[in-house]
């Protein structure tokens, strides 16, 4: 499977490790470890090992500084009463689990959690299905297909604040383009409040987010499709598998690793979406589009309760981690199979 190494990354790593692993224990070193003894570092193997570590160092330093430090800081902050005063005095009293208790028992939390799940599942389902359909469609060559494919990237390239403002205008209840159009063709009697009704706002926000996410899904899936060998389709056609059956038995199994990547990245990107929601509804009306991400932003930067905002942020990190674990497992299984 050509896709395996590129998508997984995990399959690429083991060979690197196996170079190191067979290192025989140096005399005097504790049994069971492959750590070379003092003199061992200068043996050819030890030097190679040092070199390998040297190459790792920049990446590790980068990860620790820009990912490790903020995450640790965020975890610590959630146990503190971190306010505007903390920025000046540096004092942040330890409050234990108070911040978690406050955010998890607040009236908004349950709604925000449900909204986050609906928003993520709805967005991913829509983006993936439409993205895949478009990717499969563009596998055929036809005049202008290249141009059209690049035009599809447009939503991805536009600043989210700009697309948010335009969508807000399109979805306006009284004078929005959408309601004008629907009314014009006689589909609706009364103007639906896409962004102003508590039952429609979340759907509208999901639809806009799907629109934003389609190019990402299409691009990655299209790349995956390009790597499916042509001759497999020919062989399948000889056996009578064409159209849907070819997709089901040839395309889909070979695309699986790419699908895994797209879905997991999609979840991680979607679960933390902030700007689209802030731009469209600000979490309203009446918290109908409030997600854990927007609530966390609100607590930190509008109410200046940085500790509580951090606690909610950590909840989000945990959810993302769970998905990352699923991804790793799915990937390992795919690697073994």
């Amino acid at each position: 499977m050509a896709e395996e190494g590129r998508a997984g990354g995990t399959t690429a790593r083991p060979p690197l490790l196996t170079v190191v692993a067979p290192d025989p224990p140096a005399p005097g070193a504790a049994a069971g470890t492959d750590r070379p003894g003092r003199a061992g570092w200068w043996s050819p193997r030890g030097r190679e090992r040092l070199l390998q570590l040297g190459f790792l160092l920049p990446a590790v330093a980068y990860l620790l500084l820009f990912f490790g430090y903020p995450v640790v800081q965020n975890v610590v902050m959630a146990f503190q009463e971190y306010t505007t005063a903390t920025f000046y005095t540096g004092e942040a009293p330890w409050v234990g689990l108070d911040n978690y208790v406050a955010v998890l028992t607040s009236a908004v939390f349950n709604q925000a959690l449900v909204n986050t799940v609906l928003f993520t599942v709805g967005s991913i389902a829509g983006q993936f299905v439409i993205g895949l359909a478009i990717a499969v469609f563009f596998q055929r060559r036809f005049p202008l297909s290249g141009v059209l494919r690049s035009l599809l990237l447009l939503p991805w390239l536009m600043p989210l604040i700009v697309s948010g403002a335009v969508w807000r205008w399109i979805l306006d209840q009284d004078n929005g383009a959408l309601n004008r159009f629907l009314g014009g063709v006689g589909l609706i009697g009364e103007n639906p409040g896409w962004l102003t009704s508590t039952s429609l706002a979340l759907i509208a926000v999901i639809v806009v987010n799907i629109w934003v996410g389609i190019p990402f899904n299409t691009t990655i899936l299209y790349g995956g499709l390009q790597d499916v060998p042509r001759e497999l389709y020919e062989a399948a056609a000889l056996d009578g598998a064409t159209g849907w059956r070819a997709f089901r038995h040839v395309t889909w199994p070979l695309l699986r690793p790419v699908v895994n990547v797209v879905l997991v990245l999609g979840v991680v990107y979607t679960i933390k979406v902030l700007d689209i929601i802030l731009g469209l509804t600000g979490g309203g009306p009446a918290n109908a589009t409030q997600t854990i991400a927007t609530q966390s932003y609100h607590l930190s930067f509008q109410e200046f309760r940085f500790g509580q905002g951090a606690a909610l942020g950590n909840v989000l990190i945990v959810i993302s981690l769970v998905f990352a674990l699923f991804y790793l497992r799915a990937n390992r299984r795919a690697g073994q199979g």
Binding site: F87, T196, N287, F301
Partner: protein, 412 residues
Amino acid sequence: MARRGARLGRTALATATALATAATLAACGGGGAGDSGGPVTSLRVLDYYNNEPENTVYADLLNACGQQAGVTIQREAVPGASLIAKVLQQASSRTLPDVLMLDNPDLQQIAATGALSPITDFGLSTDGYANGIVSASTYEGKVYGMQPVTNTIGLFYNEDMLAAAGVTPPKTWDELKAAAAKLTSGDRYGLAFSAPANYEGTWQFLPFMWSNGGDETNIASPQVAQALQLWVDLVTSGSASRSVVNWTQADVNEQFGAGKAAMMINGPWQFPALAQKAPDLKYGVVPIPVPQAGATEVAPLGGETWTLPRTGDEARQKKAAEIVACLNSDATQMNLATERSSVPTKTALLDGFVAQAPTMAAFTEQVKTARARTGKLGADWPAAATKIYTAVQSAITGGATPDAALRQAQNG
């Protein structure tokens, strides 16, 4: 408020990123205070007047004040939504400017950090200022800022539309409801106001809530419920659009300017935009209607206050205090009020100001009795403001009765 409200969403990520790096920067801070010890030749100023014409107005004013005090001004103007992030970052790295402008409801948060000096330490005083103005700049009994001009919101009305419908500008809630109903026709609403899910929605609701005796320390009261019922009635009767829950004050102004609303609740900072987009529109402004005839109008105060961060350099702080005093002189207050369509904060100047700027009469009248948003709750105001707009939104969208919505929000 008007400025911040409109920009709440925009720099969400910028703010977050800036604050995330604040802690890191703290470690490398320390410098930046500059030439301590020697004679003070220049001062650093930070504000959020980064749009024209305000940008030039304040640049000129600060330079003139600097000249008077014998220093050059190094001014930095950042976008409104990123000011607080910037200030917190500077507070943490000890690089705060010598003179700092803050939106008045934010003063509490920044004063709470201990990063500001009381203005009385430098011989400044707020005697003769409107009470609400002083309370906005007061944290735990000490005054930390001086605000040269203020603003508030009033009821704008389209003169032609009211004349055609035979309606006079409403003074009470009943008159407001009747007028709005009568002025609604076709795709035109009688009234437009702003009730989005942010502090802008709270700001617009306050005059109704306060004038009816409502109190932000406990919003689950009949007084607040009555005020909210008024808003709900206006929307459910169709006199105001259901879109109010997603309209910013700038959106409201667009509706009014385009003739889609006969009246609107808004502030004088919309004058330039109205003049530009609807130059032929004839409109007037009256104070926001009160519950019954004779009741006192209590509006919220807007505007920015100028503070003196603790830079640890006595000589520089003294010079900075001279700049703040200059920004608040009678002449500056009158000039700024005229140029920025706002209201002077010294009560003795008000009558003279109205004579000179008659379009500001309604706002000036309201400022005399207006209150500061943070006057009662101080640094706890943001939490209360969130409760207020949440309750307003759930009542207008029909999720709960005003009474239930307010109780729910109050109990959080």
